[in-house]
């Protein structure tokens, strides 16, 4: 396409979708030094971004005929960026909650995450089969997540440490022995087990002993500026055509190409 004068003009008229994400949360989004696997350049940087969120962004842009621009932003600035219009949407694994929906508009979920628990394989809780078995555990999770705010309190007598600011920091706390368990979602947990071979992933889903959460709470969505119904509808129109299995397939691919898996 590029190279011809005509298409250049057309390309300029084409709308650019500015998507913000952290680019530091594999397998959702990460930074890599080259464009292998179809990674997208990060705006204003020599690095590239890839991951589930980027794949989703690419898919959306393909469907809608937009150009894609990935903006790497700190977690705390994702919302101000979209609210102020500096970016068009945020695809960064944000959980959809009713509180948040008052300040931004969320699309339909673009991934259905399940909740898992990480422990050390040589630790006291390696054989836990249910939430009840975690009784008295010292645990933590990420700040402002359903895992920290509503899962951890379900563990009996849990010693809940202050919330961690990011997934890697949370894993450091577990690795160093400052806590015995962390609660997070499946993709993160799987990545963590690659990075830290001495971790064990406990998945209680489907059993009676699972964390009790509403479906609504664990789903992650794309956020746009409040009132930007035009874009919201366009995004939803893409997501509507996709099924849960499509998501799972995409996530599997993301996990398989994430730097840790190479």
């Amino acid at each position: 396409m590029p190279g011809l004068g005509l298409t250049m003009v057309q390309a300029e008229e084409k709308k650019t979708l500015k998507v913000a994400m952290e680019c530091s949360y594999a397998p959702y989004n990460w930074t890599q030094p080259d464009d292998s696997n179809g990674a997208v350049p990060i705006s204003g940087s020599s690095d590239y971004a890839y991951g589930y969120d980027v794949m989703m962004a690419k898919k959306i842009c393909d469907e809608l005929g937009y150009d894609l621009e990935i903006v790497k932003l700190d977690w705390d600035s994702l919302v101000p960026a979209v609210q102020s219009g500096k970016v068009d949407c945020v695809i960064a694994g944000q959980s959809i909650t009713s509180e948040r929906q008052q300040m931004v508009d969320f699309t339909e979920p673009y991934y259905y995450a399940s909740i898992i628990t990480l422990v050390k394989s040589d630790g006291d809780y390696a054989d836990a089969k249910s939430v009840a078995d975690l009784k008295g555990v010292t645990c933590t999770s990420q700040q402002n997540t359903i895992w920290y705010d509503s899962c951890l309190p379900q563990i009996e007598d849990a010693n809940i440490l202050p919330a961690q600011e990011s997934a890697p920091a949370m894993l450091v706390a577990l690795e160093s022995g400052k806590c015995d368990a962390v609660v997070t979602d499946m993709p993160t947990g799987m990545a963590a087990c690659v990075a830290y071979p001495d971790f064990k992933l406990l998945d209680f889903s489907g059993t009676d002993g699972d964390f009790e959460v509403s479906d609504e709470d664990i789903n992650i969505g794309i956020s746009v500026q409040k009132g930007n119904t035009e874009l919201l509808d366009a995004l939803n129109s893409v997501l509507d055509k996709m099924t849960e299995d499509d998501y799972k397939e995409m996530m599997d691919e993301a996990i398989s190409v994430q730097p840790l898996s190479e």
Binding site: E99, R100, Q143, N144, P162, E165, V172, K178
Partner: protein
């Protein structure tokens, strides 16, 4: 439900999270004040050591010893000043548990990291302060037989202190704001509280407005208190004549003829 307006939301957040903000601010201040205080002490000690004079006449033992001490101090300053406090906190808190199985308390780690960092900055500040005191003062102190430490403690540092008070204020304020990196080891101070509130409702502008005002109040009060202290340290503008006979002695004190008569 969140109110519609910006100010409305701020009020709502304050109602909901007011006490969290206050306890966060409390933690911030405790760490900042303790850290600054200990940091100043460290800075003064390093300053004294770094200015020990060595002379070619000194014995080899003394020269090596002093040289070694100064080297250690320089390493300390360059290392702690030169690397991010967050990373230090992480290594000290998690690293000590991981590598040596030391279970340091979160608060101990916090005080330790902040003090040791402030100390590294203060060491340089104190060096500047010592430079700023007239050399004649050192000479006079030495001339009456004071050792280096006595000279520093009695003459130079009290004068340097006055010149670096504004900088101590700066450092306290930097600490008030920089303790936020301690969230990495789980200290819930003002900034981390704010992030929590902001992330829960996606009210970043509103929450950070609250934080900004609170930070401003904390730092402003501190800076004014330090200014007061500074003025107090200056001492009285005028002195009282140590005589009962004020009329005769007001200014020129032309009193020596009297003494002559005594003879």
């Amino acid at each position: 439900m969140l109110p519609e307006t910006f100010w409305g939301r701020i009020q709502y957040l304050l109602q909901q999270y007011g006490s969290s903000f206050l306890s966060g601010a409390g933690n911030t201040m405790i760490i900042a004040i303790v850290g600054t205080f200990l940091g100043c002490l460290i800075g003064f000690i390093v300053g004294i050591i770094q200015t020990i004079p060595v002379d070619k006449r000194d014995s080899a033992v003394k020269k090596t010893l002093v040289g070694f001490l100064k080297f250690i101090m320089a390493c300390y300053v360059e290392f702690f000043r030169g690397t991010p406090m967050m990373v230090q906190a992480m290594f000290i808190y998690y690293g000590s548990a991981y590598l040596f199985n030391i279970n340091m308390s979160m608060w101990f780690a916090a005080f330790f990291v902040v003090s040791i960092n402030t100390g590294a900055y203060m060491a340089e500040t104190v060096r500047g302060g010592i430079l700023s005191v007239d050399e004649g003062q050192t000479e006079a102190a030495k001339a009456i037989g004071m050792t280096h430490v006595q000279t520093m403690m009695n003459v130079i540092l009290p004068q340097a202190l006055r010149n670096i008070m504004p900088q101590i204020g700066n450092n306290l304020i930097i600490n008030i704001k920089d303790t936020c990196v301690l969230s990495i080891i789980g200290i819930v101070e003002l900034f981390y509280t704010t992030k929590g509130v902001a992330g829960a409702y996606y009210t970043y502008f509103e929450s950070f407005t609250i934080a900004m005002v609170m930070y401003f109040i904390l730092t402003f009060v501190c800076s004014r208190l330090l200014r007061l202290l500074e003025h107090k340290m200056e001492g009285p503008q005028n002195y009282d004549l140590a005589t009962t006979d004020t009329l005769a002695h007001t200014s020129g004190l032309y009193s020596y003829p009297k003494k002559k008569e005594e003879k």
